[in-house]
């Protein structure tokens, strides 16, 4: 609680550890970036190939869901430590929103 600040000098091993960690993360981000581009390509191809809308819509929605997960875990650090509570609340929120929309779609507008 005190307000004096501590300056921490990193040791050589710590430094290398962090470096390795970072490059690993970087590789992860590049991979998910590549996957995302690829998924986008699939989506575009599906539309360009003139498949039936009944096929295209679910495919695009599915790909979108995958993209969201990749985005969250690949770029927004949800996989890092200390994000359990964040994940829990996000998924609870999504779950509630999903139930709501599902119910409205099925019982009001169908």
């Amino acid at each position: 609680m005190a307000h004096e600040t501590h300056t921490h000098v990193r040791s050589q091993t710590e430094y290398e550890y962090i470096r390795r960690q970072r490059s690993k993360e970087m590789r992860g981000q590049l991979t998910s970036f590549a996957i995302m581009i690829f998924l986008t390509l699939i989506a575009f191809t599906a539309v360009a190939a003139d498949f039936s809308p009944y096929l295209i819509t679910p495919i695009i929605l599915l790909l979108a869901a995958v993209q969201v997960v990749l985005q969250l875990y690949g770029f927004m650090h949800m996989s890092n430590k200390g994000h359990g509570m964040v994940a829990f609340f996000m998924f609870s929120g999504m779950f509630v929103a999903f139930i709501t929309i599902l119910a409205l779609v099925t019982i009001v507008w169908w």
Binding site: M1, H3, M85, F89, G93, I99, A103, T106, I107
Partner: protein
């Protein structure tokens, strides 16, 4: 900011409360204003019961009756029950987790002032052309047809106070996740903290649908948006969905903290660890989740179709399971305990049969075909008063007695407390038990009168007599509060003698920084563990005595909320279309709000430090009250 206790003048005390960011003082504000709204709602209830006392009464006209009924429900739910629970959450939860304050003290104050100005705005409708009259549920077909500005007061007032509640909910979530003392793992948190946590999560997820619904309503009325207007291609049922997607979680926002309060009381006054702590925690979380999947049980008769009705009926019945788990855990906590029948304990024991009765009628209503009979009858009125009064209000009264010493440093009279309990408890059952039968006899709810040939006279008269008992109980409570404050006999840390959790380990009321040293938590019922091991200080410490960093008070939240209050008047009268002054008023109001936000963002306020010497002086002097 000296820590030397000094008598302050009225003006200084007032300014202190207007600018405070201390969770304990904000709790006082919530309790006082929630209490006043509770009295206003209570007076409205008495008016309703006077009107229905006999057949064909003309005490209130039909139109006035609708306004009184609507304002009674709206006030009690949004401006009384919820804020008073927020008062106890504010006062106690940070102490229970060993924190010095909530995570965002400034937002805490902002949350209060938004609620306050929203509530005042709503109630000003009485003097400005008539209160809302479409029921607390404000169903759209009725609301859109309502003349005058009543519904606009409802929509704008609830928008403002809803923002306040949402802010408080988020604040509590962050506080509980981040500010627990060392050793206070999730599974060591007292149940009142747990229920605060889950209720806050429900606030976070449930208020947005209400905000959306109310926004649609404002747009329909202000700009002719036609979201709910069937003749223009809108859909009036969408309001019902949005309202109940919020509304059912809302009833759990009310009852879960009540469960938390009773859990504390059962453990304290049975002098036993809570039976099945883990089950109680998981039942709380489960109830929170299920709460979002049952809203359409309020709409069985709308015509959603058999499939939807069946799904929601089943989902609703499932909620009774975790609730039952809780009831059994409480019973087994009392079982074999060494019980002391204090006032809070009487409420807790009275709560069990009352709430079970409300739960049973709830499950009855969840049977969709049966609900076609029960819906919109006095049976429904009996049900929700059994759960809300028998659950939430009993918890509020119990907590008032239980936590009064911790909040104000004096003990309410036990003798008067028991008078309040018996009068209120008897009055409550007298008023509402008989309404089940009125419902079964066919009396519809929300009617302003009935005929002498309908056979409802006697039961309505009995119901009105019960209301008098409840009013007498509340008046005695007020007398109790006044007398206790005048006597002003200060009490020590643990006035009930059997406190188990951290709030009882420090002074009553606590110093404004709460804990001079952050405690180290070694298990569930921290204070009890230390007491049992003979630790005179009541806690072990996680840190040496050091300087404490505290936030400065601020007047900005009041100004920010006031701006919205002003802008709302502009928006409200702008609907008339013939008032040129409304646009400038909206602009001025919003300028006040955004200006104060800008001020807050640009001005650095780094808070202040309490020096080690001051803390030492406090600790040595045994300073036991919270005055700065």
């Amino acid at each position: 900011m000296s820590s030397i206790a000094q008598k302050k003048g009225f003006g200084a005390a007032m300014w202190d409360y207007l600018t405070t960011v201390d969770h304990k003082k904000i709790a006082h504000l919530y309790l006082a204003s929630g209490g006043i709204f509770f009295l206003i709602g209570g007076i409205e209830a008495m008016l309703i019961r006077i009107q229905l006392m006999k057949a064909g009464n003309d005490f209130l006209s039909a139109g006035t009756y609708n306004e009184v009924l609507t304002m009674h429900g709206t006030t009690m739910i949004f401006l009384a029950a919820m804020p008073i629970l927020l008062a106890f959450m504010n006062a106690i939860m940070p102490l229970q987790i060993g924190a010095r304050d909530v995570a965002f003290p400034f937002l805490n104050s902002l949350g209060f002032w938004l609620f306050f100005f929203g509530g005042v705005f709503l109630n000003l409708s009485w003097f400005l052309g008539g209160a809302p009259d479409a029921g607390w549920t404000n169903y759209a077909s009725l609301a859109i047809a309502s003349e005058g500005h009543g519904i606009d007061f409802y929509a704008l007032g609830l928008t403002i106070s809803g923002f306040g509640t949402l802010i408080s909910g988020i604040n509590f979530l962050v506080t509980i996740i981040n500010m627990r003392a060392p050793g206070m793992t999730y599974m060591r948190m007292p149940l009142f903290t747990w229920t605060t946590f889950v209720a806050s999560a429900l606030i976070l997820l449930a208020f947005p649908p209400l905000t959306v619904g109310v926004f649609f309503m404002v747009f329909d009325r202000m700009f002719g948006a036609n979201f709910f207007d069937v003749t223009m291609g809108g859909n009036t049922i969408i309001w019902e969905h949005l309202f109940w997607i919020f509304g059912h979680p809302e009833v759990y926002i009310l009852i879960l903290p009540a469960f938390g309060i009773f859990s504390e009381i059962f453990a304290i006054f049975s002098r036993k660890r809570l039976f099945g702590y883990t089950a109680l925690v998981f039942a709380t979380i489960l109830i929170g989740f299920y709460g979002f999947m049952v809203w359409a049980h309020h709409m069985f008769t709308v015509g959603l179709g058999p499939t939807a009705n069946a799904v929601f009926a089943l989902a609703t019945m499932i909620i009774a399971v975790p609730t039952g788990v809780k009831i059994f855990n409480w019973l087994l906590t009392i079982w074999g305990g060494s019980i002391s029948f204090t006032t809070p304990m009487m409420y807790a024991i009275g709560f069990i049969p009352s709430f079970v009765a409300g739960g049973v009628t709830g499950v009855m209503q969840a049977i969709a075909p049966l609900d076609y009979q029960l819906h919109d009858s006095y049976f429904i009125v009996a049900h929700f008063h059994y759960v809300i009064v028998g659950g939430v209000v009993l918890a509020i009264l119990a907590a008032t007695h239980l936590y009064w010493p911790k909040m104000f440093g004096t003990m309410l009279s036990e003798k008067l407390g028991k008078w309040t309990f018996w009068l209120f408890f008897i009055g409550f059952h007298l008023t509402f038990f008989i309404q089940h039968f009125l419902g079964l006899m066919g009396m519809p709810r929300r009617v302003y009168t009935f005929g002498a040939d309908q056979g409802w006279d006697l039961f309505n008269a009995i119901s009105s007599v019960g209301a008098v008992f409840m009013a007498a109980g509340v008046i005695i409570l007020l007398v109790n509060v006044v007398m206790t404050s005048i006597k002003n006999e200060r009490v020590g840390n643990d006035p009930w003698g059997d406190g188990r959790t951290l709030e009882w380990a420090i002074a009553s009321p606590p110093p404004f920084y709460n804990f001079a040293q952050t405690p180290l938590v070694r298990g569930l019922d921290t204070f009890w563990i230390e007491k049992m091991e003979g630790n005179k200080e009541g806690m072990v410490y996680a840190e040496p005595l050091e300087e404490i960093h505290m936030p400065n008070g601020s007047f900005v939240p009041v100004v920010m909320s006031f701006g919205l209050f002003v802008a709302s008047f502009g928006a409200l009268y702008n609907m008339d279309g013939d008032k040129g002054w409304t646009i400038p008023v909206i602009i001025i109001g919003l300028a006040i709000t955004f200006g104060s936000m800008l001020f807050r963002s640009l001005k650095d306020d780094l808070g202040f430090h309490i020096s080690k010497e001051e803390l030492m002086r406090d600790v040595k002097g045994g300073k036991s009250d919270g005055l700065k």
